[in-house]
């Protein structure tokens, strides 16, 4: 692996991933609302229309159910479609296609058809886009057998998950948190595909495990830095893959630290955070030295005003407080 690093952004890393896939495999194409001439709502596909042309970068009508279904049909027909849905809220219009068709057809056809489809969508709050464009419903998708659910948070994962997902024979849903698109950093110039299974320990620690993913990863790492200044050694786990969950990494960490707090931007009730907490209780109960903590979004539709939006979301200071709470400090 080359030591050469380039300065890039999460958005550019995603774009390089798409470009790489388009170049590797002629069956790959991208479709969605405004992905072509406009360059994508979050500018992820900017420039690809000019480079690859309207056959492979396809603008669609405003019908999530229609173009997601078209993607499923294309995948069944041997293509490798990438469907971009502007935001997770709009994906609810395509739930029938995703849950009833994409996730089930392999099973219902007795393995005769599989659906090598990738659906990308933006999620999360923080851009004052209010209650219809800001939600974190990835836990809903992670509930569904038959699909894989990914949440790339780092540049490496943004760059590398797409190709691996396209190679998977089953549908994969990728959640891109809107607050990550502008994050910049160093990425290996030859960065390429990464595994789409397994959680990653982003920071090693001994006193407690902070379990998170996606948009909360960097808030959590910042909180871990503040905790370190108070002599609390936090381990930070990035789930990366929300379905299937990597139980082994979680339990290994909890066996070491004896305490866990899950940080996610979902609502607490019925959340993925609840699932992770339950698994820790089931599999690592005798390792626990404190109840598992959860820090989630306030149970309100995400507010529009900045101060209320900030107040509703998990923030660094609240993560620090939640960590201290399980340490009885």
């Amino acid at each position: 692996m080359s030591a050469e690093m380039i300065q890039t952004s999460y958005r550019e890393a995603l774009r390089e991933g798409i470009r790489d896939a388009l170049k590797r495999d002629a069956r790959v194409f991208l479709m969605g609302e405004d992905v072509g001439r406009y360059g994508g709502c979050y500018a992820v596909s900017k420039g690809l229309y000019d480079e690859f042309g309207p056959e492979r970068i396809r603008d669609t009508p405003l019908s999530e159910c229609g173009f997601t279904g078209a993607g499923i049909g294309a995948a069944m027909g041997g293509m490798r479609p990438i469907v971009e849905i502007m935001t997770v809220n709009f994906s609810l219009l395509a739930l029938d296609q995703i849950v009833n068709n994409a996730a089930t057809l392999r099973h219902m056809s007795g393995g005769q058809f599989n659906i090598p489809l990738v659906i990308r969508m933006a999620c999360g709050a923080g851009k004052q886009l209010a209650a219809q464009h800001s939600h974190s419903l990835e836990g809903w998708y992670a509930h569904i057998p038959g699909i894989k659910v990914l949440a790339p948070a780092t540049l490496e994962d943004a760059r590398g998950m797409l190709w691996t997902a396209l190679e998977d024979p089953d549908p994969v849903v990728i959640f891109e948190h809107v607050m990550l698109y502008n994050r910049t950093g160093q990425l290996a110039a030859d960065a390429g595909p990464v595994p789409i299974e397994g959680a990653a320990v982003r920071l090693e620690g001994t006193d407690l495990s902070l379990v998170t993913y996606g948009g909360c990863l960097f808030k959590t790492l910042e909180a871990a830095g503040q905790l370190a200044a108070e002599d609390i050694s936090a381990e930070v786990i990035d789930l990366r893959c929300l379905r299937p969950l990597d139980d082994a990494t979680l339990m290994t960490s909890v066996a070491k630290t004896h305490r866990a707090v899950i940080i996610s931007e979902e609502w607490r009730s019925g959340s993925l955070a609840a699932e992770v907490s339950a698994r820790i209780m089931e599999q690592a109960f005798w390792d626990l030295d404190a109840p598992v903590g959860r820090l989630c979004t306030a149970e309100v539709p995400i507010p529009y005003p900045k101060h209320l939006e900030d107040a509703a979301l998990p923030q660094v200071s609240a993560i620090v407080d939640a960590a201290k709470a399980v340490l009885n400090r």
Binding site: W286, L288, D289
Partner: protein
């Protein structure tokens, strides 16, 4: 005012004890230091005392019952104001509801190490026991398997005794940075003085060299407070009183080091009586709680067993142990002449956290000087 009489701690290695008999009946008056009951511990049958004047109330446990340190044993009534209060029990009593709140990790470790949760103080919410509370208890004592049941009656459980010694000595060697010094002391004068002193006395009144050693150590310690007291969580707590624990072997194996209280203030005769009494009670049982729990220093003398010197292992939480080998005739240069003299090698093992070799050396030198003037002991 009423209060509860709780199982006292008779040493850092004691976790629980079994009630053998009540020495007082409900309604009976108790004076401070009265023996209230006899309990069976790893060290054998021990008489335990009350800490204040009171009236014996309702017993809360029955003969044969084993309860942890700190558990309520009986009610005490009529404890007046101004009367000395009992030292606070070393551990938090069990929660009234019976089940202690404890985290799963704390429970698992406690179970693995045979530590009773009821004797731990919980630092978590509402007194819940957390992992670190158990870890602290594990550190405070050597890991132990559950004790094998003792043979019936009040005899010593040898396996339990062995484990108690193992626990204390392991903890000592794990936690205490020992330093060792040794010094040959001329006992020629002391031997002659003792011979003359004993010449007219019947055998049961004669004084043994061991008593001289204990008295000399006790007197010398007055000037060396850093060797007399206790380590409490790494802090030294000097003791004004000098209670010398006298290491005493038990027939069949094992040993205890019960205290001769205020050894520096005892005349040699009474000191010797106490020594005899202690040895007798070690052999047949009947040591008192305070004798076992409060020595501030230990003296170990291998007496007539024929070894030149012994290096002791400090008994936690004490900070020093003085050892004496067998006194014997050895050649020594005195005023340019090689002459036979009665010599004993005295050793000091001390806790380097609380004293240094320089002071330890001065202590042995002072001890040697003391033993040159046996008539002042």
């Amino acid at each position: 005012m009423s209060d509860l009489y709780r199982m006292p701690s008779l040493g850092s290695d004691m976790e629980s004890a079994t009630l053998i008999e009540w020495c007082k009946q409900p309604g009976e008056r108790l004076a401070k230091d009265d023996v209230i009951a006899v309990v069976e511990t790893q060290k054998g049958a021990i008489e335990i005392e009350v800490f204040h004047d009171a009236v014996m109330g309702k017993p809360l446990i029955e003969v044969g019952e084993t309860v942890p340190v700190g558990a309520a044993m009986a009610e005490l009534e009529g404890i007046g104001d101004g009367i000395e209060q009992a030292p606070s029990p070393p551990v938090e009593p069990p929660a009234p509801s019976g089940r202690r709140r404890a985290s799963p990790a704390a429970r698992r470790l406690a179970e693995a190490r045979g530590i009773g949760l009821e004797r731990l103080r919980g630092s978590g919410p509402e007194g819940a026991i957390r992992l670190e509370d158990v870890q602290r208890a594990v550190q405070a004592q050597a890991p132990k398997a559950p004790l094998p049941p003792d043979s019936k009656g009040t005899g010593l459980g040898m396996a339990a005794m062995r484990q108690a010694i193992a626990a204390a000595m392991s903890r000592s060697k794990r936690e205490i940075p020992h330093y060792y010094l040794s010094h040959d002391i001329d006992l020629t004068r002391a031997t002659q003085w003792l011979g003359a002193h004993n010449a007219e006395l019947p055998p049961d009144r004669r004084i043994l060299m061991a008593a001289l050693f204990i008295k000399a150590v006790a007197l010398t310690l007055r000037k060396f407070p850093e060797l007399n007291g206790f380590d409490r969580d790494g802090q030294f707590e000097p003791s004004k009183a000098i209670h010398v624990g006298s290491a005493t072997a038990i027939r069949g194996g094992g040993l205890v080091a019960p205290a001769i209280h205020d050894a520096d203030q005892l005349e040699l005769g009474p000191l010797m009586d106490k020594l005899r009494d202690l040895v007798a009670r070690v052999r047949r049982g009947g040591l008192r709680a305070s004798e076992l729990s409060d020595p501030t220093v230990t003296v170990s003398s291998l007496g007539e067993r024929g070894v030149d010197r012994l290096y002791g292992v400090i008994y936690p939480p004490q900070v020093a142990i003085v050892g004496f080998g067998t006194p014997e005739l050895r050649p020594r240069v005195v005023e340019g002449e090689i002459t036979p003299r009665t010599l004993v090698t005295a050793t000091l093992a001390a806790d380097h956290r609380h004293s240094d070799g320089h002071r330890g050396g001065l202590f042995l030198a002072k001890l040697a000087a003391r033993l040159q003037e046996p008539e002042t002991l």
